[in-house]
Subunit: 202 residues, 4 copies
DNA sequence: GATGAATGAGCGTTCATTCAT
DNA sequence: AATGAATGAACGCTCATTCAT
């Protein structure tokens, strides 16, 4: 039955996610994934064309999950500043999840330079992230709470700072800094977007 | 002579840098490095303990080079805004160099999660980057051109935005966007640091 | 099934035995073992941790086989002189088997000096050999056919002469001498143990 | 000058002997030998055709040394029993020397099965050893102190027991047993050769 | 004579992939 | 649908050998 197969595939993707997060993209063997998924070695090859196919689906699966979560978070709020806060707080979910995701995500970003499919998937993820940014900024400009920044530029900037901050945080290997980076990120973005006199001069 | 050996080692590191940039960290074989360096297979093993030792030295070599270049760039300027511009322009040197460096750097960041030595080296690189930021901000605050932001926070933020922007740029695979990202990064940081009313509220 | 795996392991050990006997311990490659076993190169690594693990098991397997064979031989006899004859004849089975075994055994003895596990296995083999000697001598002394030699000493001596003789025979590379060495060994041991006046003077 | 070259060659053989004794025949690299000899890597290749050539000369050199020493020892004595004692005591020189020699010798014996030149050299060594035995026995029979054993047989037996005993001793890795094995060897040979009633019945 | 940098053949080991069951 | 035994390609590493200096 299709549903069962889908469950198996997700079971394997979860295992692969865990495995890559703990052991690293290139150390992970199909045997590792099988072990984490508590299935036999052949199963992964049965449900995916090959190892790369697993990773391709893993990247899609994990970025989709991240996007949906972030999108859901801003949907619950109604003002632009609240949405911004919700976005940043969703992106900085918690040390454990962030570590797991960014460890894996960094490996994929690195691979994306040599793998078009990864790059395509990341492009879609970026588009999704930017669309969240745009949505927030447009609302803010309608509300008058956000400055008249270029919407595209700003949405790029938002994601760049989020990713840049979380990568820097990850490298510190210090969970205590998580709140600091989150709050600093939010504060910087708030200042950046807030309507003072800092109109974009372009 | 020691000097000759040192040259050989650098020759190999250059080759490894090129190889990793083009083929990716884990695809690179010792044979690849030898080919890029135009030497025989055994040479790399002769000058480095093993493959990991090559990469360890490569990361040190390349981050040191980046830091020195950026530090030299700000040293030529005398006002904080000029230094900031020089820093960002040095970091966004040109598409070709940025692509090469960030491709390799991303791979190391990904590996750093599973390799303490890489993490240590990156920690030193971060410290160096932050020190550049601090130097600029301190000067700006003395001059009165920069706002009274928390210096540490701001120096983290500067690097986070630079790295975040360049990684995002890299993923677009579109050299045309390089200037855009550079200018946007500089503008955002300028706004962030410039003394308007956006005093740090902490 | 476990039994099938056990068969494979023994198949590989037989192949390794043959390979070491013909090519020598250090010339033997995993490919050689695979060729002798008529399996692919990966199989040996599949059933054993590594090459050394193969040899470790090979030494255990082959010394155990030799001991069991010799022990079975003396068990069939009922008087000490008959047992002694049976022991020596079992040890000097035939040129072909002796050549194969001592070629391999010599390599292991040589390696044992640098490999504790080999030494341990050989220690167990020695204990087993000596126990055969002790059993024969004790019976002989009970029967009154064997002199009052020190049992431990004599059991060491018996094995030393058997090994010393077979090594010397092996080095001659002349099968014709096999019977001569066997008979001389038995005769010398008989004289040594037989109850004349040569009581141990210690 | 020829003499200087000869010295260099012996220096290398000594180093090789030490290296093989400590590290084992197959672990020893030309670099090891160079290190032990305190010369540079190229020297060994300069004075010997190749690695095997070193070992070939090493075996000759070391067996010759052993033979000469044993022959000198018996030459100092005048009665057969004294010569026998001298022979055994020379063969069982001391734990340290015996360990060094037999470690190396065992490796050569093992290799001899796959290397005709080693076998030839060992044949000469055996001939020399047997000639010592024959000399002693002939004298003993002339004196009437030794029984009428077959001289060839007995000389083989003597060396077989000496080698068998020392190999067994070596494997125990216990210097304390050295005297025991030596005395037991001598006693057994004495009993074997001494003129009681144990005339050889062949 | 002596050095040691450079070469490249060869081997152990890993592991994705296949396929008989 | 699932297993895991078997295969063999590929790579890191070692080291004997060569040779320019």
């Amino acid at each position: 039955m299709n549903n069962k197969a889908e469950k198996r595939r997700e079971q394997i993707l979860r295992a692969a996610f865990q495995a890559v997060s703990e052991k690293g993209f290139h150390s992970v063997t199909l045997q590792d994934i099988a072990d984490y998924a508590d299935v036999s070695k052949g199963v992964t090859s049965y449900y995916f064309q090959n190892k790369e196919d697993v990773f391709r689906h893993l990247l899609e699966w994990v970025t989709e999950k991240i996007y949906k979560n972030e999108h859901a978070a801003i949907s619950k709020e109604h003002t632009a500043p609240d949405k911004l806060r919700a976005y940043v707080h969703a992106a900085f979910a918690n040390p454990s999840d962030n570590r797991k995701f960014y460890r894996v995500y960094l490996e994929f970003l690195a691979q994306a330079n040599h793998n078009e499919q990864f790059r395509d998937t990341n492009d879609r993820f970026y588009e999704n992230c930017w669309s969240i940014g745009r949505e927030i900024i447009q609302l803010g400009q309608k509300e008058g709470t956000f400055a008249n920044v270029d919407i595209d530029k700003a949405s790029y900037t938002i994601r760049a700072l989020i990713d840049g901050s979380l990568i820097q945080w990850l490298m510190q290997n210090n969970d205590q800094l998580h709140t600091f980076y989150r709050d600093n990120c939010l504060e910087t973005l708030s200042n950046y977007l807030t309507n003072k006199n800092n109109q974009n001069s372009n």
